[in-house]
Symmetry: C2
Subunit: 368 residues, 2 copies
């Protein structure tokens, strides 16, 4: 949306480009080195105390005499002391950084999840070390796992879009807690429904309540766990209502693929409603239907999934299910933190839900 951009090369004020000029030395190999900052020894010397006392102050030990404390504080401020995290990590074998695997997509979901994760991590005093990948790039995944391993992280979160990625992550052994965000239905207790399942069931129920009986599912990529969950939930929901599920058609999550598919799809099977795997696909499908002279929702009802901010303003406004991407990210971090601190796992229901959002892309089934 924004297009915040940069000064054109060459026209940039060097002081704006960087602070290299003043504080960054450069090697003969042309690689800049980190600046030489004040250490606790410098601070100690200035405050006329031992480095120990400075360290104690920094780690908030009590037992420092007020006058000593003041001298330390003054020296700290005068030297603009900033602790060196690398040294701290080396000495304590502990760190405040969390690794995160994310997947490159044009859709907003994954990045919203990461925003939520990043925020929650920051609130808990951690930074996120981010690696973005294509799920299909096995080699890059392996390399990234390897690099993460070396980074002295407190833990790692990852979303596993496909079983392949998931297996690679599980086999990885980061040596630290790892939380994989995925939703394998075979791992959920029988009493629990996945979020995808809950949402999909609500959508199908809504359509059936509106009198639809022949409902088509336009799914995401078959290799994606989230997509398969939605497909399975569609089938179960149909059967539960005594209706025959149709074979799902597959897209790549994009509006373009939904459009392309719906342009070609046969229309003579009596389908009166479509459950699209997400809002983008629904958008493409609606566009294709309208081009083919099928009115939405009069001739065909269409529902999406996710409730992206734009869905409310589509024509017609899209009936969908609201997921809370940022809360999913926050949940991942809280889950990981509970592992790191060996405390009780947070309850997922407190974070996420799948609420039906009724808008105008659905209507009662047309009388045949």
């Amino acid at each position: 949306m924004v297009g915040v951009t940069a000064p054109l090369a060459g026209s940039a004020d060097p002081e704006v480009r960087s602070s290299m000029s003043t504080r960054v030395a450069t090697d003969e190999d042309g690689t800049s080195k980190l600046s030489r900052a004040a250490t606790i020894y410098d601070v100690a010397a200035r405050a006329k105390v031992s480095h120990q006392t400075v360290s104690r102050y920094l780690r908030k030990y009590p037992g420092i005499r007020p006058e000593t404390r003041e001298r330390v504080e003054l020296a700290l401020a005068e030297l603009n002391y900033r602790p060196n995290q690398a040294a701290r990590t080396l000495a304590t074998n502990r760190s405040l950084r969390i690794g995160a695997f994310a997947y490159e997509m044009l859709e907003v979901g994954p990045s919203q999840i990461m925003q939520g994760a990043s925020r929650r991590a920051r609130d808990a005093g951690y930074m996120l070390d981010l690696v973005t990948l294509f799920p299909s790039d096995d080699e890059a995944t392996q390399n990234a796992i390897n690099e993460m391993y070396q980074q002295n992280l407190a833990g790692v979160i990852a979303s596993a879009p496909t079983d392949r990625v998931r297996e690679a992550l599980e086999a990885a052994d980061f040596g630290v807690p790892l939380y994989i965000e995925t939703e394998r239905e075979d791992e959920l207790g029988a009493e629990h429904e996945s979020l995808n399942a809950v949402g999909t069931r609500k959508l199908v129920d809504h359509l059936v309540d509106q009198g639809h009986t022949t409902i088509l599912n336009i799914a995401g990529p078959p290799s994606w766990i989230a997509s398969l969950n939605r497909v399975n939930a569609y089938r179960r929901a149909m059967l539960h209502r005594g209706l025959e599920p149709l074979d799902s058609l597959h897209t790549d999550w994009s509006a373009a693929s939904g459009y392309k598919l719906a342009r070609q799809m046969p229309l003579d099977r009596g389908v009166t409603a479509i459950v699209a795997t997400n809002d983008q696909v629904a958008l493409g499908v609606v566009r294709a239907l309208i081009e083919r002279g099928v009115a939405v929702p009069d001739d065909m009802s269409v529902v999406g999934f996710d409730d992206i901010p734009e869905s409310e303003f589509f024509l017609p406004p899209l009936t969908t299910v609201q997921t809370h991407f940022d809360m999913q990210g926050k949940y991942s971090i809280d889950m990981l933190l509970s592992m790191i601190h060996n405390s009780e796992a947070p309850v997922r229901e407190d974070y996420v839900s799948a609420d039906l959002v009724l808008r105008s892309s659905t209507a009662r089934a047309p009388v045949a």
Copy 2:
């Protein structure tokens, strides 16, 4: 879009949740520690060489006898040695991590930029340390700057959406190269136009060519540099064509704000075309216009900015300008790397452009 989610709390297989059980020790304070991995000394002992030789091997020195080299390689593999980056950073005062400031938004642009940056950074052997913030949260910005400072980074990239953020960043002194992605027009040479300006000019020219003379600009937030650039470019482009620019109206970049504004705006000023600050706002505006009985594009032409993947499937498909968010991120990284290595700055034109994408939301001006 995806909704990749997690097993419900309590029903998760502990082995899936983490690998803590086998490899992570736990303190009495409940904080897990990093695992104790093999060091170069362990490797050296096993290979019956000195730690020196192992170190040389790892840093790819030549001059190691093939048989020695083999012994080292074997020991490395047997012990599953992974270098400790914290120790390496401490010893060399060098690191392979880049800090990145990003801003939390529902729109896709910023996260696309970060994806591009993350990918390019990885290709160059760097990791991204991500911090996401709200631009308006000054305190969080200061805290984040402070934390970044301690992280032994090779450099920092940031987008400065507002002058306020920009000033905070510039004053920060990270001690390492800093590249701020912004586009202050007063810093561009007179011969250079900003990307926002180029795109906006193309849009205005297109509309004027279609016979429109009274063109309204619906802008983003006035504090955002990118938004102001687009406003200024609109004014210049209008004047350049001998037309009177109207006062710009402001949104928050969202479809909802565009909708709300366009629902209330007076329609009696002879406006026949609207330049919206991005595609989302354009979507909201179109929806509001149609609700008010104004046909798009017959009564009113509307253009967006950014060409998000959905725009092609809006009704009507949106005429807009294509920006390349991922390339902007890549450019930021390349720019930063050129600073880190003291090499020549990349040329921005090789990365980004603003190409007009003609679709159906614009038409010739209606005859009055």
